[in-house]
Structure formats: C-alpha cells, structure tokens
C-alpha cells in the first residue's frame, strides 16, 4: 500500500523539477538578446558566489571580505552574495538569478565554478563574469576573465620558516585534491624548506574533500604519529587541522587566513588572502565599461613581481627567530626580481628527472602546468 503512494509523489517531484529547469532556461535565452552596451557598464549590482560558508577561517571568508570591501568602495552598489554554491549547475542557476536581479558583474570565486561561469558568460554578453583561480584555455570571450595571485610565493616563504623550525626534518601537508594550485603550493613549500634545510621532507596526505573535519583530524593525527612536527594544509576549512596540530604539540603554518589565535604556541607563519584592492579595481573597470580588452579580460595573474599579490604572508608566531625572518626577507627580495622565482631552475622532480632546467625562470603557465611533486616530497599524486 505504502509503496504505491511513492510513485505519484516521485512523479510530481520530477515534473516540478523539469518545469523549474525549463523556466530557468527560458530566462537565459530571453536575456541573452542583449544590447550593444559594453558588458558590466553602469551596473548597479554585483554578485559573488562562494563554494563554502563565508566564515570558514579560510578561502571563502577571504573572498567574502573582499566582496564587503567592494560594498564599502561603492556605497550605491548593491552587493549580492551566495554561500555554499556547489561547483555544478546549481552555480549556473545562482548566477542566473543574480543577473535577473540586475547584477551585471559576477564573481565566481571557486576553482570549480569555471564551467558554469563560462556558460553564464556566453548566455549574457552584457554581463561581466570573472572567475577566481582557474584558467581558461585559449582566449576568453569579451565579457569573461580569470584572476588569481601567485599563491606559491608566500607558501615558499612559509616553507623557509618551516624548514628552519623543524627538528625532525619532517613536514606535513594536508591537502584536498591534486589541482594545479595545490601541487604548486606543495612543491613551493618543499623548495622553500629545502633551501634552508636540505634534510627537510614534506609528507603529503590528501582528504579528497575541501572540508571534512573528521578526515582532517585523522590526517593530522597520522602525520603526527609519523613524527612530523610542522603541519600546513590546503583545505577550505582550516581550524580542525590547526587545533589537532596544536594539541599534538607540533607547529602550524597557516593557509587562507590568519589563524594564529587557534595555535598560540605553535603558530609559525602562513599565507592569507587580501582581495580588497583587486576586487574593487575589477568592479571599477567593469562599471566604467572598460572591461573588454582590459587586463582582466584574460587570465590575469598578480604576484610579488607586479607588487600587488592578493596573497600575503601572515604574521610570525613567537618561536620564529630573527635569523629566520632575515632569511625570509632575503628570499622574498630574490623572488620579487624579474629573474627570480621559487621555481627558478634547477628544480628536480620527485623521480629524479629535471623539472626546470638550470637558470630557467618558468612563466606562470608553466608553473600552473606542473603535474609532479618535487624531490623531497614524500607521497604520490593520486591518479585514477
């Protein structure tokens, strides 16, 4: 008896969903018949989507704070934000609904938001869509672009601090997925550590999830059991690993945000985001109608060399010596120069082959194309 009731209910749900889908696709075709105005011009609203909660002590919190800086810089502008937007068609729907509300500038702030962002940009030539962290293959269309900071630079500097701090010469890195950003970070961290401590090795553990606290705690525990005494991470929510590290008496290198309050004893340093200026400038460019052909209408990357890296080094913890600080300053100066880079050759890959030839300074695209760990990293990149 009971099971028979399920069928009509399910049918109704399916019907309702397909109706919804039909509605939203109608919307997009309707608004696609756009005017000849430059994309984003005179927009009165700007939309931001985040993959996680806006107060995650991490990536999303930083992006959210950036969006609030935009609100402050443009008092007349309405800033629409949406948290916990998955990296699939729901992102398309959320962006569509923001556009329907009048937003002509959209920030898709997660790596996996790229495909939905491209879809939305193609459907709405009058809307500027910028994506944070991913790379568009080839030339982006007129109303689209990606932007990011050279995240590996402050991570390299933090690696120096970790290399100096470790006593067991074992560093730990908890990460989620082997995306280019993460591989670069792990490599840069190890290169930084090895530059001051040739014995240092980085043990990597992945969680296959941006935020699964129980898995993170387990990962940190496993690393601590292995004798690792400095742990860093690339996760969206960072507090669990930091708390576990502090409780285990080990030291922390932060990522995404200044979480020194969670590790009063073990905090060394870290890297954190500051999107205020970049977000504001992108919005300014778009609203002025100057987006097309601008530096943002591309795969825009900023770093120490351009002097406006949105990814900066966090404050030092109490245990960092002046000698270490001086070494980090020197390294920072070296990699800020035109012929400097954390990846300046020779860089040897994990398997002993040459990743970057002696004396070569790889460009950003090359670095984002790395698919291997460097020598000194312990662990494999998961392959399917």
């Amino acid at each position: 008896m009971k099971t028979r009731r399920l069928a009509p209910a399910l049918a109704a749900v399916v019907l309702a969903m397909s109706l919804l889908a039909a509605c939203s696709s109608n919307d997009s075709t309707a608004s696609a018949s756009a005017s000849s105005e430059p994309p984003g011009k005179d927009s009165e609203k700007v939309g931001f989507i985040f993959v996680g909660p806006k107060d995650d002590f991490g990536y999303n919190q930083a992006a959210y704070e950036g969006s609030q800086a935009v609100a402050k810089a443009f008092p007349d502008m309405e800033v629409l934000t949406a948290e916990n937007v998955p990296e699939d068609d729901s992102a398309t729907r959320v962006m569509e609904s923001m556009i329907k509300k009048g937003a002509k500038v959209i920030f898709a702030t997660s790596y996996g938001h790229l495909d939905p962002a491209i879809k939305v940009a193609e459907a709405h030539p009058d809307v500027v869509v910028v994506q944070q962290g991913n790379v568009i293959n080839g030339e982006p269309i007129d109303n689209m672009g990606t932007f990011f900071g050279t995240v590996y630079e402050p991570v390299y500097l933090a690696g120096i601090a970790a290399g100096k701090a470790t006593k067991s010469n074992k560093l730990g890195y908890v990460y989620a997925f082997p995306i280019p950003q993460t591989i670069d970070n792990i490599d840069a961290f190890q290169l930084g550590a090895a530059s001051v401590n040739p014995q240092a090795q980085t043990y990597v553990v992945n969680t296959s999830n941006w935020c699964d606290p129980a898995k993170q705690a387990e990962a940190a525990k496993s690393l601590l059991d292995e004798g690792v005494d400095v742990i860093t991470q690339h996760q969206d929510c960072t507090s669990t690993v930091i708390k576990a590290t502090e409780a285990g008496g080990a030291m922390t290198v932060g990522y995404h945000a200044d979480a020194s309050s969670l590790a009063p004893k073990g905090w060394i340093t870290g890297s954190e985001w500051d999107w205020k200026d970049l977000y504001t400038d992108i919005v300014k460019t778009a609203v002025a109608g100057e987006f097309v052909g601008s530096k943002y209408n591309a795969n825009y990357r900023v770093g120490l060399k351009t002097g406006e890296n949105p990814f900066i080094q966090s404050e030092y913890g109490p245990s960092v010596t002046d000698e270490t600080k001086a070494q980090i300053e020197a390294a920072k100066e070296a990699i800020s120069k035109e012929d400097g880079s954390p990846f300046k050759g020779p860089v040897i890959a994990q398997d002993g082959s040459v990743l970057v030839e002696d004396g070569v300074v790889p460009d950003y695209a090359t670095i984002e194309g790395f698919t291997v760990f460097v020598k000194g990293v312990v662990g494999d990149i998961p392959k399917s």
Partner: protein, 305 residues
C-alpha cells in the same frame, strides 16, 4: 606507532560516530521504522552540541543538547511515518534534507565559535595495557560512552520486557495492539531514542574529537551507519564491529599516505563504500528471513494495479 596500531586507533576514533548512529538505527529498525534521516539527526546533534558548548562553556551540557536535538529531528520522522503513514524511505530523505537545511541556516553563526574538543582522556590502568589500551582507552569520553551503550542496547532489546515489546512492534504491530499495548507509542520512543543516539554520534564528531562545526560535516556517515545496520542484521555487537570496520577503512588512507606508501588513493577513498557493497552482497540475501515483519512491508514493492 606501527601502521596496524594507527589504523586500529583511527578505526575506533572515526568509527564511533558511525557506531552511535548505527545503534540508533538498530533500535529504530527493530521497532519497524527505517530512518534514513539519521544523518540529519547526526548533523543536528553535531551543531547543537557545538553551539551549546560554545554558549555555556560546558561540553557535557553540549552533548546532552546534541542528543535532544537529534531526537527532536527524528520526532518529525516518527510523526509522518507513524501518524500519517507516509513512506518511510521518502520521509527519511526529506528529514535528512530538513536537518541539513536547518543546520546550515543556524550553523553559520557558529562556524567561527571556538570550542576545544574533549580530546583523549586516558583511562587509568586500562590505557597502559599494550595495544588494547592504546586502541580503546586513549580516546575521547564519548567513545567510552559507546562501550556502555552497545551492551546496554543489546540488553534492552533482547533481555528486557521493554525490548520484547519493541521488537514485537517491529514484527506485528497489530498483534501488540490486540493485546492492549500502545504499539505506536513504543515505536515513537524507539525512533526518538534512535535519533538521540544519532545526535550523540554527531556530537562525537564536533565536540568529541575535531573541535569544529562545519556545514554537512558528517559527510555521509549516517548513510554508512544505515548500511552497517543492514549487514550487521540489527545486532548491537555486530553493529559495533561493522562500525569499526568502516572506521578502519576511513583511517587507512591517511595512515598509508603519511608513511609515504604509494597506493591509489582514489581506490582507498572508495574502500568504505566497496566494503559496504561487498558485505551487503555476501550477507544481504542470507539474512533476508530475519528482517522484522513491519520492515519487510517497507521494502515490499506492491505490484502495479
């Protein structure tokens, strides 16, 4: 620590949240109600425990509140299933999403709250036993509660008058009613008690060992619990063993990686689910006769008319 020891301690640490949820599901299913919303109860428990602990500064008050929150959510399931006779599977999913939604909404304010987890409390004497002491008696106190909850659950279900009534409600509700027992009330109590255990499982995650609350932090552990209950055939001690099996599968991947073993990690991540399917295939059919009568009705597919 040896690899086996790391995995074994990880199995208990990571399996306990699953164990509580699975115990709750066992009680509920013994009374003839499948509660797929147990994951929602875990989420409610995780958030409420964390939030109350943050507000009061007392982890034990938090734990109690988490249990109550888990029970309240399962009360919704009980109402629709028992009073409105709605489909148990569909209602369970709705309740799960209700729990997910509520906790996302009210949880946002507590993501940044700073609660220090209970952490491990070594049990005097017992914790110094080699191996067993390290695996079982250097854990968080909620884990120790589970050592009491499992035998208690078994005793209540199979040795007490209460358990007899509860299982009778799960087998033939109308017989119980005929003899003048409040069958529906018994089922209500079972479902709500199950939800409370689920809530404690969630609380173990948030205030027992990670010291964090994040949206959807249970990440499917409630569903694993439902699978554990099926292959453990609703027997508390087997449920305990099954939960630790999953805990071990979860702990294996980081333990191997931290030692630098090169093993396909995607395969390792899939291990818990492959274990579920294998065990269901192996044990599933053989045990079909032992499914409580009222539960069989839930899974029966009525022929189209």
């Amino acid at each position: 620590m040896s690899l086996a020891l790391v995995v074994a301690t990880g199995a208990v640490r990571g399996g306990t949240s699953i164990l509580f949820a699975a115990l709750g599901e066992t009680i509920s299913e013994r009374a003839g109600v499948v509660n797929l919303g147990i994951e929602g109860s875990m989420l409610c428990g995780a958030l409420t425990a964390y939030a109350v602990a943050a507000e009061t500064g007392n982890l034990w008050v938090g734990l109690a509140a988490g249990a109550i929150a888990g029970g309240l959510l399962s009360l919704v399931h009980a109402f629709f299933v028992l009073n409105r006779e709605s489909n148990q599977l569909a209602t369970g999913l709705v309740v799960l999403f209700l729990g997910l939604g509520i906790t996302s909404l009210f949880g946002a304010a507590y993501v940044q709250a700073d609660v220090t987890a209970m952490g491990s409390w070594d049990v005097p004497i017992l914790s110094s036993i080699p191996w067993i002491g390290e695996v079982f008696f250097q854990q968080d106190p909620i884990t120790y509660l589970s050592y009491l909850a499992v035998p208690a659950c078994w005793w209540v279900l199979f040795r007490s008058r209460w358990g007899t009534l509860l299982r009778a409600a799960g087998e033939r509700r109308e017989v119980l009613t005929t003899y003048g027992h409040p069958a529906r009330l018994i089922q209500y109590v079972a479902v709500v008690a199950g939800g409370m255990l689920g809530g404690i499982g969630g609380a173990q995650l948030s205030i027992g060992y990670t010291g964090a609350w994040f949206e959807n932090m249970t990440q499917g552990r409630g569903f694993i619990a439902v699978a554990v209950v099926m292959f453990a055939n609703r027997m508390p001690f087997r449920v305990q063993a099954g939960s630790y099996l999953f805990g071990a599968a979860l702990a294996l991947s980081p333990a191997l990686q931290a030692r630098g073993y090169s093993i396909n990690q995607f395969a390792l991540d899939a291990a818990p689910y492959i274990v579920t399917i294998l065990v269901l295939v192996i044990f599933g059919r053989r045990k079909s006769q032992e499914i409580p009568g009222e539960l069989q009705k839930v899974f029966e597919i009525a022929p189209a008319t």
